[in-house]
Symmetry: D2
């Protein structure tokens, strides 16, 4: 709905309720810190329909890795984030050994904050064609691993956006999945956050796939186990804030200070012209080029680490 | 200064005063319409130091071509804008025939709304090396023109931004100018507007060159006749709004409605935390990729039209 | 087989026999000239299995448009080629009205002479999502056409190459075709020619689809009606010559001059070391960047002209 | 001269004489092996005018690092090459401490084998603006170095090629040098080799700068101490072989086998038509996209290692 706060981060949805209720029924929240407190790992579990309705997100697990301080420091520090994201991805993949994984990088390569997905696919260790050509065992030999280690056939595609292809990313991916039958689809996408502080410093992993409607692009079809026929894990990084959200949040803050109550604020905001104009706009940092490179590197390292111990 | 409204458009500076004073001393404003009112051409002339101080822009002529309706229609309509911008550019170039023109495309190719300048230089009809190699008369022959037509040696460079090169664009351009001695430097750059409606629908041409500080990038040195030693014309297109401006404008509107006066509003806004966080952020349309291609094409057509009747 | 002359152009295959036989059984050849002889249109029809074996290409129609002189001249001249290619494409499409067309741009965007396909898809008038969103009639209205004109839902995808995705382009395309069910797949690809003169001046259209093995990339699976389940038209432009072909051709010429016969030459060439090293190399013009842009523009104009009269 | 063997590698020039003379007067040659013989370092010193005339290269030192085997293996192996190139660069820089270095990446970003220079500049640790903004000592603090370590202000620019800018790269660089006064200009460029085996496996470093005429581009002005006014070190990687060279070399080999002598071969080759057509063509590997990324990474690591111990 127009004028609503939009965020792709389950964590930020959960934070909205902190004032009113300590506990949201159907939603469990745990948090962990590591690297001297520089990295925070939060797990939001949406447990039932009630939780899903309140959170406006499907039932499932949402892991958030926040590490602003590790990204501004040295290269070795940033690698810590790659490894942690890799470990969380391993956790979500579960224990059943995987044989074939398809990574899809959603988004528009031509719009800097939306190019995360395509940039990640560019940097992956793609192996499916190698195993097809040189046979089983080839990878283990190349990577100096034992003969009996499981080898993963990884493929990667950046399907482009609807304005470029005339097709929804979901349509292209469904077609490919029907043809190559992966055990797992991993979707990488740029997300919209509510808070500018989270931009390019936060990674969300979830086993619920991708829902329509947020970020720069406008995916309309879901990408999840139901729609695609195989498990879908999504890795996302917030790279933009919706302009509506920025305007709304700042106005709301001001009205609260002036003593208005929630209902009055809501009424007021509906009438504000400025917010209508903002609906097709997003907010992103001026240094988005460097940040997107750093984040795409981090996510691709995490994937290579998870599947190939690279 | 932080928190101030920032716009690179002289027209928007002028509009700030419309409520208070019908006339701003030292500033002349004229407007024209063409294409059935679909194109508006405004000329702001800053005539003296007083005008310059009020407008926070140097003395000189600022021409704005606004044509939102022509950009959303057919290709033939868009070409009308190219031609009008070409004619305005011709006017600013003056009557003295030009022999050598250097076009510089400022901005960061890696950040979509800041890539206007580099994209324009990619599409120009570069001729300097041809005249050097094949001699005078070569161009006129190629373009089926009379022998005695003036031929312009056009060169073009996209110097990159300071974070990439370690140098200010102005330093690189000054160096090149000292070496090749053009009669005119034409600077193309993405600008910041105050109003989201003006993004990618407006072109500003000025004979004052470029001042530090606006847009996505952070040029700090001026590019003008004084600093460079030859006339400088700047062509700019607003592609972003500063996030601070968006937040400030929407709050200000709200406070005005509530009956606060200018001074009270100013005081209030200074205290707002949200605006501080916005200082390194910009707002741009989700369809910036298509819009930037359309605008870069328009500007390059205008330049090719102005100098070569192409 | 290593060391063999490789060309993707049916016309060049046919030319190999000109010395020996005036007529090749199972192969019909016709030619036409237009634009004052500056454009040559050749039609090679492979009529039966014998023709297919001799020509090493499947049964079908191969149309070649050669127009070196039109590419070096003015823009208006180049447009003549776009229109002629568009008309030939119309002819190959047949009379049955099309409702949905999928264009696939094969090749590697990162290797200049192999980037033709992706560059073409970038410049198409993609309509499928518009018809889906705004309903039938929308295009005719936009394009000022009659209500009852057929509207084509065009989609476009550049699937990347196997080294990037781990998948054959054919696998990705098959998957998409199964999902969106087009009436026609149009494949655009960079080809290998035998003669350097044909590079970037020649367009081949064929209703036989794409065979494995030539060009810069190494597609191994066919893309044709049998493999994909819907008609496939291929449009190709030779942008490279295999290095083996260059070396072999020049040596062969020399040996012929020295009076050796065909058999002796063959024996001799098999022993030449230089040719082995050439197997992973290609030859391309130094100005490939400009030529590939010109050709991708020409092909995309032809497609837009054929399907939308643009 | 047309038809001549063209190579930018001093080592390959020297190899031409191995059959005739064990020693070439005015040219000294030494070689070293490391990494179990997987890396060969050759130093060619052109000592006087006679050597320069025979070698067709200016007086100076030419260091070649050949490491084909290290590039095909693991990442850690490739890093060995980066470090060795970094050490050789350090040697050429001499003992006088440097304060300001300008790196220029020559070549055309749009032509894959010519994009080495621009890709290298993209990956450098650019520091000049940081030292200007944050003052002396800033880098040492960032890099955890002692207070008294020399800090280098590194700037980097990719000036583009003449067809894009209308200016010679040398003109742009001279202009910038006049303006910012570096102690050293480092030029990175893609080279032409004679042997396909050397492509993308060899690095040449020289203190003589860049001479006109080889590679994909066509630089016509020298870049050296005389022309620019400050020391110039060039780092080059052969990424192409001239098509003329390929054809000539293979023919020459064949004619030698047939018993012709040098003079006869020369006469013969002058008459060969095929070689004329090859003059604007180059030969490069099909996997040039991956190789150019590997080499650009290696060179940028070497530069970062040499100047910042990164």
């Amino acid at each position: 709905m127009k004028g609503e706060i939009r965020t792709d981060l389950a964590l930020e949805m959960r934070e909205q309720f902190t004032e009113d209720d300590v506990e949201v029924r159907g939603v469990a929240l745990t948090e962990d810190f590591c690297e001297d407190g520089k990295m925070r790992i939060t797990r939001v579990e949406i447990l039932d329909e009630h939780g899903a309705k309140v959170m406006k997100k499907p039932i499932g697990t949402y892991i958030t890795v926040e590490a602003a301080k590790l990204f501004s420091g040295e290269e070795a520090q940033r690698r810590k984030v790659s490894e942690e994201v890799g470990r969380q991805l391993e956790f979500l993949c579960g224990k059943k050994p995987l044989r074939q994984v398809l990574v899809t990088g959603l988004g528009n390569r031509e719009v800097t904050p939306d190019s995360l997905g395509p940039l990640v696919t560019d940097q992956l260790f793609v192996t499916r064609h190698l195993l097809k050509e040189y046979g089983e065992g080839f990878l283990n030999e190349q990577l100096d691993k034992g003969k009996d280690e499981a080898e993963i056939a990884l493929s990667a595609v950046a399907p482009g956006v609807m304005g470029q292809t005339g097709m929804e990313a979901a349509e292209i991916i469904k077609g490919i999945v029907k043809h190559i039958h992966p055990d797992l689809v991993l979707v990488v996408d740029a997300l919209a956050a509510r808070s500018v502080e989270r931009l390019n410093t936060t990674v969300q992993l979830t086993d619920t796939g991708i829902c329509p409607g947020a970020g720069v692009g406008n995916n309309r079809q879901s990408l999840n186990k139901e729609s695609i026929g195989c498990p879908v894990i999504a890795i996302g990084v917030p790279t933009v804030v919706d302009a509506v959200t920025i305007v709304r949040d700042s106005m709301e803050g001001m009205l609260k200070e002036q003593g208005y109550n929630k209902k009055e604020i809501e009424l007021f905001l509906r009438g504000v012209e400025a917010m209508r104009k903002m609906n097709t706009m997003f907010v992103t940092p001026k240094s988005i080029d460097e940040e997107i490179h750093q984040m795409s590197r981090t996510i691709s390292e995490a994937i290579n680490y998870c599947f190939f111990d690279l």
